[in-house]
Every structure is written in structure tokens, then in C-alpha cells.
């Protein structure tokens, strides 16, 4: 791709490309928000804004993990399956005390650890393409989940998970606060620790990373495990918002999280992009769904809007990258 770009040089005002590359999605997000505030009825209401943020939080949590995996040149199609499995785990404990949440969290994270480890093992040691490894895990996990629930998941979502998933303090959704904390941790890890540097190096140039003594396999493996763990948390947050469980909680999040991350400027070629950008991508995607709904389009029309906006956002954003 890059060869084609360099083969056809274009004239562009100096700096314009760099500006768009750095700020394309933010500009897009801003224009979208202002446009919506002016033209979409009810978008400005505090209730709706809070709604958008609550909706974006579970996706945001998943995007954090997806971002890590994409940074090391992979992607994770099993996140939605992990989310649904975590949701099923959340409703499989009978006690309604808040202490059951501890065991739920522990079991969910254990499940995520197993899934992430298998993904990581297949990708690093068996050299399976991430697409197939995580796709296969998605299907296997789906089978396990359906066999466990005998096809019909049921049960009560514990109160604490419901509160975290759907309530707000001082107008700020709790799940958004949770997302911000997690994002801060992941963001600081990526920007300020050796592990973070290693992730960027492995994604940018695995061979060079190997030569300077980075354990490429271990870094990649860790990213897959973290992605599954974050997806499990995302699943718990989502089931807390939805309030009831079925076998398809989080359906579509695998592709939406990839789309949001790529829209946020994280390159599928690996090694470029930030968690912050990916999160903006998640918010923009959620905002788009919200706006499509507010404008009174039939629900089906959301599909069309989603497709068009993805193409638009990617096109706008990548203009900058290509001009370099």
C-alpha cells in the first residue's frame, strides 16, 4: 500500500496532512457533535448525553483490549464471545449478595485468561493468523456457552453489577468512570512503561524488536490475554446495563470494536496509534448510532448510516496518513 502512495506523489500544502492525521477524528467528532446538537432533536438533553456515554462505556472497555492486540499486528474476534460468556457467568451464581460479585469477577477473569492464553499460544507459538485463531476460539467458546446454558441462558444479574452498569453519580455514569480508570491504566502502561514501549516496537517491526532482545512472543501473548480480560470486564459492564442475560450479549462488539479502533487511528499494520484515539473512535461510533436513532430514521437505517460513516471517517482520517 505504501509503495503505491509513494509512487503517486501529490501536491499538498505542507503540514495539512500532518494536521489531519493528528486531528482528523477529533475534528470529525467535533463536527458530528455540533451538527447533532444543532439538528438532531433531543441530542442536547442531559439525559441523552448521559445515555450516549453509558452506551459507549462497555464498547470502550473492549476497545482498550482490541487496541492492544491491533498494536501488535493482530486482532481479536473472540471478544464478543468472551463478553457473552462473562455475562452468563455473572448470572450463574445464585446468591444475590454483593460478595458474589467477587467470585463472578474471579471466574470471569479466569475464563478470559484461558481464552486469551489459547489465542496467544496459537498466534505466537503455532503461527496461526490472528483472524483464524480468534475466530476458532469464538466458535468453540460459543459451543461451550450454549452447552452450559443448554441453549437458554437465564438468571438474575447481581445488584452491584446492575448499579455499575447503569447508574450515575452526579450525572456521570459509573461505567464511564470505570472506563476512564481502565483507560488511564492502559494508556499510562503504553506510554510510560517498558512494556508499553515493547508493544509499539513489536508492532512496528517485530524482527528489529527481536534483534534488540525483546521477547516478541511474550509481549504478543500478554496483549491477547489482556484483550480477553478487558473483554470479560466489558461483558460484565454490558450485562449490568442490559439487565438481563442471553447467549448473545455483546453480539457485534467484535467487529464494532475493531472498527472503532481503526477509526481511532490505530493502524491494522501495527505499531501506530493510541488508546486515546481508539476511545474517541468508540465514542464516535456510539454517537453515530444515537444520532441515527434521534433523527427518526427507521432502526434498519442505522446499518446504512454506520456503513457510510465508517467509510467517511476512514477516508477522512487516512488522507493524512497517505500524504506522508
Amino acid at each position: 500500500m505504501s509503495t503505491a502512495a509513494s509512487a503517486t506523489p501529490r501536491f499538498r500544502a505542507p503540514g495539512a496532512g500532518a494536521f489531519i492525521e493528528r486531528n482528523g477524528l477529533f475534528v470529525f467528532c467535533l463536527v458530528l457533535t455540533i451538527g447533532a446538537a444543532l439538528f438532531a432533536p433531543g441530542f442536547r438533553s442531559p439525559n441523552n448525553l448521559q445515555n450516549v456515554l453509558t452506551n459507549a462505556a462497555p464498547l470502550g472497555v473492549v476497545v482498550l483490549g482490541q487496541c492492544l492486540v491491533i498494536l501488535v499486528r493482530g486482532f481479536d474476534l473472540s471478544v464478543a464471545s468472551v463478553m457473552a460468556t462473562a455475562a452468563v457467568i455473572a448470572t450463574s451464581f445464585d446468591e444475590t449478595t454483593n460478595w458474589s460479585v467477587v467470585s463472578i469477577l474471579a471466574v470471569s477473569l479466569l475464563m478470559a485468561l484461558v481464552v486469551g492464553s489459547v489465542n496467544g499460544y496459537l498466534v505466537t507459538r503455532r503461527k496461526v493468523s490472528p483472524f483464524l485463531a480468534t475466530l476458532a476460539m469464538m466458535i468453540v467458546l460459543q459451543g461451550v456457552r450454549f452447552a452450559w446454558t443448554k441453549g437458554a441462558a437465564s438468571g438474575r444479574v447481581p445488584e452491584l453489577i446492575r448499579v455499575v452498569g447503569s447508574q450515575a453519580v452526579y450525572g456521570i455514569p459509573i461505567n464511564l468512570l470505570l472506563l476512564l480508570v481502565l483507560a488511564l491504566i492502559v494508556g499510562i502502561t503504553l506510554q510510560r512503561t517498558t512494556f508499553g514501549r515493547k508493544v509499539y516496537m513489536v508492532g512496528g517491526n517485530p524482527r528489529a524488536a527481536e534483534l534488540i532482545g525483546i521477547n516478541v512472543e511474550r509481549v504478543t501473548f500478554s496483549c491477547y490475554v489482556l484483550s480477553s480480560a478487558l473483554a470479560a470486564v466489558g461483558g460484565l459492564v454490558l450485562v449490568g446495563y442490559v439487565g438481563s442475560v442471553d447467549n448473545w450479549v455483546g453480539r457485534g462488539y467484535e467487529l464494532n470494536s475493531i472498527i472503532a479502533t481503526v477509526m481511532g487511528g490505530v493502524s491494522l499494520a501495527g505499531g501506530r496509534g493510541t488508546v486515546f484515539g481508539a476511545l474517541v473512535g468508540a465514542f464516535v461510533l456510539t454517537e453515530i448510532f444515537n444520532i441515527a436513532l434521534l433523527l427518526g430514521f427507521p432502526v434498519q437505517f442505522q446499518w446504512v448510516v454506520k456503513g457510510v460513516v465508517i467509510l467517511l471517517a476512514v477516508a477522512v482520517y487516512l488522507v493524512g496518513q497517505r500524504s506522508r
Binding site: M1, F131, I139, G143, I259, V262, Q302, A315
Partner: protein
């Protein structure tokens, strides 16, 4: 004398060479697994042993065969197509919805639907070229748009086909299902193009080493438009087949061909990185998947466990033999 003695086996080898090119390790393993599945089937059930059942398995491969063929060609060129389900949703619902039982509309609508399928594919290819974004993202975005249009047209399966339209799926000539035979014919045509004609070589070149392919003058645009167009066309064939089989189109897009189409490709030894592999492995992969489903049904294993088995088979296939070949390469 010595010359003669040497040339004889080498001439025999030369005759065998095309054969050895087709019989890759993946293909041999697939044949072995299919044989094994048949043996298991023969042992476990009397009903499996009937000619009818074998023909049934063959007939049921039709839908998957078309999309898997398109997916193979795209993967060979280094891309991927995740707009198949949306394509099938639109083409199948339009076909049954517009025709609505009127026999005189059937033929023109089939032509129209094939054109629509082709167009969706070409739009995919064009957007990939214009935006220079990963095909995964582009085809998903196009899929979302096409799926939305389908659901705006109808939320429920509507319309129907005139009597006799189920011939395409269920009709038999000398006991051979028409649709399935046609899918094998399509595989043969594509195999010929890939092996002997220029576009075929260009697809392999582009998938194997894109930068090198550009430098030696492979018309990248034409190849990309060709492979995505072909895949779109083949997906609409699956749409037509499904309408013929079920009598009505399915607008929901939950046919699961996006991911199902990748399994036979991978089983057939075509890695997702492109440039290597072929369609024979895919055809056998389609048969393998269908035979497996059939055997599992006879074993009375629920869908849930079938999913697990399918996932484990993908893992086994990609982590055992493809891995070895990659190391060898």
C-alpha cells in the same frame, strides 16, 4: 542407452507433474479425513450407507461451495470478503420479493440479482482501491450498507417463486443434483483460469508479493475489481440457490456464510496471507465440512457441540499442517 533409461522415468514424471501440483499435503489430508468420516458413517448408521444420503450431502454443499470459491480467489489475492451474508440477504430477498410467484419475472430477476451481486463486489473492490483501507474494514462497511438497504426493503421473508423453481436445488439429472454439479463446474472453470490464464497468474502474483507484482506490471486495479466482482457474483448465486431451496429469501443476513466460507479455504491449505493454495483444496474442504455435519447429525450430537468441533477443527488445521509448510517455506 543410459540416456534412454534416464529419459523414460523423467518423461513419466513430467506427465505426473500436473497431478503432483494438485495433490498438495492439505488435499491429501482432506481426502483422508473425508474417507475416515465415511467409514465412521458406514459403521454408525444404516441410513448413512444409502446412495440417497451421499447424494444429499453433495446437494447440501451447493450454497457453501459458491461463496467458498469466491472467498478462495479473494484470499489468494491477499484480501478478504466479509460482505457475503449481506449480499445473500439482499439478492435472495429481492429475488423472491419481486418475482412473487410470477413465472415470467423469474428469468429477468435472476439476471438482475446476479448483476446486483456483481455490483456489490465491484463496489467493494473500487472502495478498497480508492480508500486504500484494509479490505476487512471496507467489506464490513459495505456489508452494513447493503444489509441496511435489505432491511429497509423488507424485515420479513416475503414473496415466493413459481412452481418448479426448486429444480435448481433439488432437481436431478441422471441422479446428480443440478445445483451441486454446477458448483463443481464453477470450481473447474476457476481452477482452469487460475492455473493457465493470465488473470490467474496475476492473482497469485498480487497475493504473494504485492510490491513485486506492481513492479512487474500486474494491473492491480483490474485484478482487485475482478476478484471482488467474482466473489459478489458467486455470493448472489448462493442467494439464488437458497431461494430455490427454501422457496423464499432471507433478509436477516444471519446465514453465517462470512465466516463459514473461510473454514473450507483454510482446510484446503490456502493461508490467509494469500499467494499460495488453490481451489481444489477448498472444494474438498466444503465436502469435508458437509460430510462432518452429516455424520454428527447421525451421531445425534447437538449443534452446540458441533460448533465446538468445528472450532477445534479450524485450530487443528491451521496449527498443524499449515504451520509445518510455513516453516518449510
Amino acid at each position: 542407452m543410459t540416456n534412454d533409461a534416464e529419459s523414460k522415468p523423467s518423461r513419466a514424471l513430467a506427465l505426473l507433474r500436473p497431478l503432483t501440483r494438485w495433490l498438495t499435503p492439505a488435499v491429501l489430508i482432506e481426502i483422508g479425513v473425508i474417507a475416515l468420516l465415511f467409514m465412521i458413517g458406514f459403521v454408525i448408521s444404516e441410513n448413512f450407507r444409502t446412495v440417497d444420503n451421499v447424494v444429499n450431502i453433495f446437494e447440501q454443499t451447493t450454497g457453501l461451495a459458491f461463496v467458498a470459491l469466491g472467498q478462495t480467489v479473494i484470499i489468494l489475492s491477499g484480501g478478504i470478503d466479509l460482505s457475503l451474508d449481506a449480499n445473500i440477504a439482499l439478492t435472495s430477498s429481492l429475488l423472491s420479493g419481486v418475482v412473487n410467484g410470477r413465472a415470467e419475472l423469474a428469468a429477468p430477476m435472476i439476471a438482475a440479482v446476479l448483476t446486483i451481486g456483481l455490483t456489490i463486489g465491484i463496489v467493494n473492490g473500487a472502495l478498497i482501491l480508492v480508500l486504500r483501507v484494509h479490505p476487512l474494514i471496507v467489506t464490513l462497511a459495505v456489508a452494513a450498507i447493503v444489509q441496511g438497504i435489505t432491511l429497509l426493503y423488507t424485515l420479513m421473508p416475503i414473496g415466493g417463486m413459481p412452481d418448479g423453481f426448486d429444480m435448481l436445488a433439488f432437481g436431478r439429472v441422471f441422479g446428480i443434483p443440478i445445483g451441486a454439479a454446477f458448483s463443481v463446474f464453477c470450481f473447474a472453470v476457476v481452477a482452469f483460469v487460475l492455473a493457465y490464464l493470465r488473470p490467474g497468474r496475476q492473482i497469485f502474483a498480487l497475493g504473494g508479493e504485492p510490491a513485486a507484482a506492481r513492479l512487474v506490471g500486474v494491473p492491480v486495479r483490474r485484478v482487485i475489481l475482478f476478484v471482488y466482482g467474482l466473489s459478489g457474483l458467486l455470493a448472489s448465486l448462493t442467494g439464488i440457490y437458497l431461494v430455490s431451496r427454501l422457496g423464499v429469501g432471507n433478509p436477516t443476513g444471519d446465514t453465517n456464510y462470512n465466516l463459514a466460507s473461510i473454514t473450507p479455504v483454510v482446510l484446503g491449505g490456502t493461508p490467509l496471507t494469500g499467494g499460495r493454495g488453490g481451489v481444489l483444496g477448498t472444494l474438498l474442504g466444503v465436502w469435508l465440512v458437509q460430510t462432518l455435519n452429516n455424520v454428527l447429525n447421525f451421531l445425534d450430537i447437538s449443534t452446540f457441540y458441533q460448533w465446538m468441533i468445528q472450532g477445534l477443527i479450524i485450530i487443528a488445521a491451521v496449527s498443524i499442517f499449515i504451520d509445518k509448510r510455513r516453516r518449510a517455506a
